[in-house]
């Protein structure tokens, strides 16, 4: 303990007291560096910076339901007021909440357990890992149709098997039922998403030093205790990042809901993203949809803040800039 403090101090003190340079001078000195990022920067400004600006701008206007943006009327914060006060916003937000939380939770738990299992050595491990990852790589459109077919009310596999087993008498209606639609969609989403959590956590598990486990074993710690006191603390960073990325992906996921139910029946599976899409391209209410997007932005930025913080913690430690 004493040794580390005495060693750490001189390093901090011995930092070369570099002459302070003005920002402009540094920019000039580094001018050539900017050439490397210039193409990327231009493209990003065009396809990312500008859209963000325009969305915020448009959110203050009422737009007539047409594609030409010439007749828009300045309405200030009216769009926001209308959205936040509307009854459907409450329902859609609740759906979004359920969808995001449950998808993230189950994808994480299934993925973590899978990572622990395939981390052990056994014959055929490579094949098993590959198989488990496939749902993540295939397109969400294909996945949506596969699950729609599995859920099919007359000829679906799931109803068929359950009837074969004598568990039910009549086929279950999974997607056309207000109460069942959300859980059914979440199952399909978890099927597609859990491999992501698995890969991330598996990569994390591979960085846990074997000696730590040995040491804990010598101390008499069983599998469970080693998991709680060695594995989990070591994976903290990866766990945070994986959870945040899953939250963001689920909050943003559009395809599965759109193709499987389109938000129905009766809006029972409508989430923010599908609602924004309906508003913009179904009803051509660009102003309203923009305001909706900005609300989404704010939620994302909050999550994004924690994501960047979690990511850069490791970066700073490794190489002080």
């Amino acid at each position: 303990m004493a040794l580390t403090t005495t060693r750490a101090r001189p390093v901090v003190g011995a930092r070369p007291a570099r002459r302070r340079e003005s920002v402009l001078a540094r920019i000039v000195r580094h001018w050539a560096d900017y050439l490397y990022i210039a193409p990327a920067l231009i493209v990003m400004l065009l396809v990312i910076g500008y859209p963000i600006y325009y969305t915020v701008y448009l959110s203050f206007f009422a737009t007539p339901p047409s594609l030409s943006m010439d007749e828009k009327i300045w309405v200030g914060l009216d769009n926001y007021r209308r959205i936040l006060r509307s009854e459907s916003f409450r329902d859609v937000t609740w759906n979004t909440f359920i969808w995001t939380i449950f998808s993230t939770f189950f994808a994480f738990v299934l993925g973590f357990a899978a990572a622990l299992v395939v981390h052990r050595e056994f014959i055929g491990r490579g094949i098993v890992r590959g198989l488990l990852l496939i749902p993540y790589v295939i397109s969400a459109v294909a996945a949506s149709y596969i699950w729609r077919w599995l859920y099919h009310s007359d000829s679906g596999l799931i109803s068929g098997v359950l009837m074969d087993l004598g568990l039910i008498d009549r086929p279950i209606n999974f997607l056309d039922d207000i109460d069942r639609v959300m859980p059914s969609l979440i199952v399909a989403n978890v099927w597609k998403e859990f491999p992501f959590a698995m890969i991330m956590l598996l990569a994390g598990l591979q960085t846990v030093p074997e000696q730590l486990h040995r040491a804990a074993m010598v101390d008499g710690a069983g599998t469970w205790h080693r998991f709680i006191h060695v594995t989990i603390p070591h994976l903290k960073g990866v766990i945070i990042i994986t959870t945040l990325l899953l939250l963001v992906t689920n909050l943003n996921s559009f395809t599965i809901v759109w193709i499987m139910t389109g938000g129905g029946p009766a809006g029972a599976s409508e989430i923010w993203i599908t609602e924004v899409y309906q508003l913009a391209f179904g009803r051509l209410r660009f102003g309203l949809a923009s305001a909706y997007s900005v609300i989404l932005f704010i939620v994302m930025m909050t999550l994004g803040y924690f994501y960047v913080k979690a990511l850069t913690r490791g970066d700073r430690r490794r190489r002080p800039a």
């Binding site: 540094r26 920019i27 580094h30 560096d33 990022i37 990327a40 396809v47 990312i48 859209p51 963000i52 325009y54 969305t55 448009l58 357990a113 899978a114 395939v118 098993v128 590959g130 198989l131 488990l132 496939i134 749902p135 790589v137 397109s139 969400a140 459109v141 294909a142 149709y145 596969i146 077919w149 007359d154 000829s155 596999l157 068929g160 098997v161 491999p195 991330m200 990569a203 994390g204 008499g220 069983g222 599998t223 994986t242 963001v248 943003n252 395809t255 924004v276 899409y277 913009a280 391209f281 660009f286 923009s290 932005f297 994302m300 930025m301 994004g304 994501y307 960047v308 990511l311 800039a321």
Partner: protein, 303 residues
């Protein structure tokens, strides 16, 4: 001395007992693990096998209840129809396939080419604004595509790019480029700068050092990034749905949906189309799994 000799065997026995205990406890966890793995494999694999099995059935057989696990009269008819240029849907489907290849490849090549110098600069140089710029790159991953959709759609109308592949290639850079920069930076971070310095001392210019030393070493990283970006572009649906109307120009994900609305009850045909669409990405992924996994986890997991 004598006490030490006495306790040694006792200690050994104690360790052995402890080891046996942990092994027994491990045994329970092992069994639970195997059960879980089997259930998870069923959950993962059955939907995919069901797609394959359905795609080999006739339309009538597919609607049978109870469902047939394996087709009693397997047929390749749906695949033939989709892939033959002489059937009624074949030409359209092949066109979708070609469009998807073209758009995904162009996006990948363009994205990686622009990303390489940027990622290198973010990894090596310490110019003012570097951190702020890099974080804005990261933050892009947070934004939903749907939010970009409206302004990009309006922009594409101005540029007269609606209904062209150019609009897709350009917009796919919204996710391809930040992702490529982020992944490649991770790979460049892992290449020691000393190697370039050595090359510089030997008389190479900065560009030569980059081209001759860094590029070959980062080839796996570039491959990983390219696959990842190709897969994302291949699977992309929202932009393609919004920007393309022309039947001739659709990519596979949207094309699949068109098929579905047209041949609503033809589930085997749809499953065959979904299978064909999955083959390239799954093949790419299985061949280059190691790189792909590295690309996914790079950055989040620091060793």
């Amino acid at each position: 001395m004598s006490t030490a000799q006495q306790t040694l065997p006792a200690a050994r026995a104690a360790t052995k007992a402890a080891a046996r205990r942990t092994r027994r406890r491990r045994g329970i966890w092992d069994i639970l693990g195997w059960i879980y793995l089997v259930l998870l494999l069923i959950f993962t694999v059955v939907p995919m096998l069901w797609m394959l099995s359905t795609s080999l059935k006739s339309e009538w057989a597919a609607l049978q209840q109870p469902p047939q696990w394996l087709p009693s009269n397997p047929t390749l008819r749906h695949y033939e129809r989709l892939l033959s240029p002489y059937s009624e849907v074949g030409p359209t489907f092949l066109r979708y396939l070609f469009n998807s290849f073209w758009v995904s490849s162009a996006t990948t090549v363009l994205g990686v080419m622009i990303a390489i110098p940027a990622a290198y600069a973010f990894s090596r140089f310490r110019f003012p604004g570097r951190e702020a710029l890099f974080f804005s790159v990261l933050l892009r991953n947070m934004f939903p595509a749907v939010v970009f959709l409206m302004p990009l759609f309006i922009m594409m109308r101005w540029l007269h790019l609606v209904n062209t592949h150019g609009s897709l290639i350009l917009t796919y850079l919204t996710f391809g480029l930040p992702l490529s920069i982020w992944l490649l930076k991770g790979f460049y971070d892992n290449i020691p700068p000393e190697l370039e310095m050595a090359a510089r001392i030997d008389g190479a210019s900065r560009f030569q050092a980059f081209w001759r030393v860094v590029m070959p070493l980062s080839a796996p990283g570039i491959i990983a990034t390219a696959i990842y970006s190709f897969i994302l572009a291949w699977n992309e649906y929202v932009y393609a749905l919004t920007f393309l109307n022309n039947e001739e120009r659709l990519t596979l994900p949207v094309g699949l949906q068109r098929f579905f609305t047209e041949y609503a009850s033809n589930w085997p045909g749809l499953m065959a189309a979904a299978f064909i669409m999955s083959v390239p990405v799954v093949a790419l992924f299985l061949i280059l799994q190691k790189y792909f996994v590295r690309a996914l986890t790079e950055g989040a997991v620091k060793t």
